[in-house]
């Protein structure tokens, strides 16, 4: 398109849309500092009491630790499985490349709620309901596409001669991968890993079907608490979740710039 300056009308409209897009998060963060026992924005007085209430509450603490363990474990496994598979698919070491790739990507196009109910029924039948490792593998299922997509596009961007050069110079396939390819893949894997971590941390539609009444994750707990009425502690728990996401992103900015997509 021809480069030109935005008109005043366009700028105003864009500003309104940006406010609309960020309003709910800002409102939740603000509401978590109120001194009142009910939710109100702007907050009346400033206090951190709701945060200390959430962080000392056993239920919330367990939900937070479950969420973090789940996200960290699922991301680590996704990176491991995803990188291995992508390497083999990229170098065409296996037959049926397209079929395997479509299979790995399929959970991305399936409605999440359908994946959730299908798994619920399957693991109930096998008697694995409530097992933590099943929940973690289910999260690997939904985070794997992001890692594979990221790894595949990084591999495509690599100069194949670099790995060949390492092998000509006497390193075996694994050494060439570890010393040459892997360091070059790192930005892509970090980006895919962060996306996978955030996806796992946020997931409700798959997770909610696989939990037992005694287990919960942070977003599922917030989701369930809302049905019993809202108070500022839910806002504080939400703020913690937003803060966790923001920290993950700031860390990621070190390796990947979001604006490079354009």
């Amino acid at each position: 398109m021809i480069p030109r300056k935005p008109t005043l009308l366009l700028t105003l409209f864009a500003l309104l849309v940006l406010v609309f897009m960020n309003a709910p998060t800002v409102v939740v963060v603000l509401a978590s500092f109120t001194k009142t026992s009910y939710l109100t924005v702007p907050p009346q007085g400033w206090t951190l009491d709701w945060f200390s209430e959430v962080l000392t509450d056993r239920g919330y603490r367990r939900a937070i630790s479950t969420s973090l363990t789940l996200a960290a474990g699922a991301t680590a496994l996704s990176i491991l499985l995803g990188t291995a598979a992508s390497y083999a698919l990229h170098h065409r070491l296996v037959r049926g490349r397209d079929a395997i790739l479509s299979l790995v990507m399929a959970p991305l196009v399936f409605p999440a709620v359908v994946i959730g109910v299908a798994l619920l029924q399957y693991i109930s039948m096998l008697g694995f309901r409530g097992q933590f490792w099943i929940l973690m593998l289910a999260h690997v299922l939904i985070t794997l596409p992001y890692v594979v997509r990221s790894a595949m596009s990084s591999l495509t961007g690599l100069n194949p001669q670099l790995e060949e050069a390492a092998m000509v110079l006497g390193s075996n396939r694994f050494e060439a991968f570890r010393l040459v390819t892997l360091p070059l893949l790192k930005p892509g894997l970090v980006a895919g890993g962060i996306f996978s971590f955030v996806t796992s941390l946020d997931n409700v539609p798959v997770t909610i079907f696989l939990l037992t009444p005694r287990q919960t994750t942070l977003p599922v707990k917030i989701f369930a608490s809302v049905e019993h009425g809202v108070d500022p502690s839910i806002a504080a728990a939400s703020t913690l979740l937003v803060a966790g996401t923001a920290i993950a992103l700031i860390l990621a900015q070190k390796w990947v710039s979001f604006t490079r997509f354009f």
């Binding site: 398109m1 499985l81 409605p111």
Partner: protein
């Protein structure tokens, strides 16, 4: 098999096995479940039947839910297009510094939890929420407006939630339009609006189609936001699937509904891919 084939098989095996055991097998099992008979009280039977699909496709209760879901998808898609297109234009026309800031403000909500954002909308839209209180204190309304537990609330929430995807797909689509084509139209004395309607929009169509299909598909399968902002009475397909499995325990009906939702989703994605491919080919010819 030579050594590299063994290596390849070993490398793809864990990921493939996971997908086969925890994705393909459960999906096939659900396909079988959707064909089982169900009697209230006794539960899932052992006979094969297509009654679940028939009842979902003929029962007024389910038809209403499906129609409402598709209508919701349409409204949210249009809303994200109307809000997203100007924002994408603004991003392209801004200075690099403003551009970076705007993109960050578009990406930030995308990465905030959907539960948190829906909760934020509850705080804003509820009868004693921020919007109603502000309007009441300004003396503009006497009674609080019904902004939640209805179509309005769900549309507002879902539009905000899926808008980032639309913007992020429209920006590259608009960016790729060659300046020459637009300059040629303007040089041939086409007006700005006419250039916009006959040059810019058609050339951005692949992006518009991709964005619209993505938003539509995400909207019709959304569970969290319709439940939080629509409440227990405003039912859509995903919340009904949830209820069939978790409350009514009518798994065959839930499975049939889940398959219909999946069929709509996959059909649309497939159709959109073909349409986009044909359109791109047409442009090059």
């Amino acid at each position: 098999m030579n050594s590299s084939r063994w290596l390849g098989a070993g490398l793809v095996l864990p990921a493939t096995a996971l997908l086969l055991l925890l994705f393909l097998a459960p999906t096939l099992l659900m396909g079988l479940m959707s064909l089982r008979n169900y009697t209230a009280g006794t539960g899932v039977g052992s006979d094969w039947t297509i009654a679940n699909y028939l009842s979902v496709l003929t029962d007024g209760f389910y038809i209403e839910i499906m129609a409402r879901t598709l209508f919701l998808g349409l409204v949210v898609t249009l809303a994200t297009l109307l809000l997203g297109f100007p924002l994408a234009l603004f991003i392209l026309r801004s200075s690099p510094a403003v551009q970076t800031l705007t993109i960050l403000l578009v990406i930030f909500p995308l990465l905030c939890n959907i539960v948190v954002r829906s909760f934020g909308w509850m705080v804003l839209l509820s009868p004693n929420g921020v919007i109603n209180e502000t309007l009441a204190s300004l003396g503009l309304i006497a009674e609080p407006l019904d902004l939640m537990y209805n179509l309005t609330g769900v549309v507002i929430g879902l539009t905000q939630i899926y808008l980032p995807f639309m913007v992020l797909l429209l920006v590259p689509a608009l960016q790729n339009i060659p300046a020459d084509v637009e300059a040629a139209a303007l040089g041939l004395r086409a007006s700005r609006p006419r250039t916009f309607a006959t040059i810019i929009v058609p050339l951005a169509l692949p992006g518009i189609i991709t964005g619209s299909i993505l938003v539509f598909v995400l909207t019709i399968s959304a569970l969290v936001t319709p439940r939080m902002l629509g409440g227990p009475t405003y039912k859509v397909m995903a919340t009904q699937i949830y209820d069939e499995f978790m409350t009514n325990l009518n798994w065959p009906a839930g499975a049939a509904l889940a398959f219909i939702l999946t069929a709509i989703t996959l059909g649309l994605i497939w159709g959109a891919n073909r349409l986009a491919a044909r359109y791109t080919k047409g442009l090059q010819a």
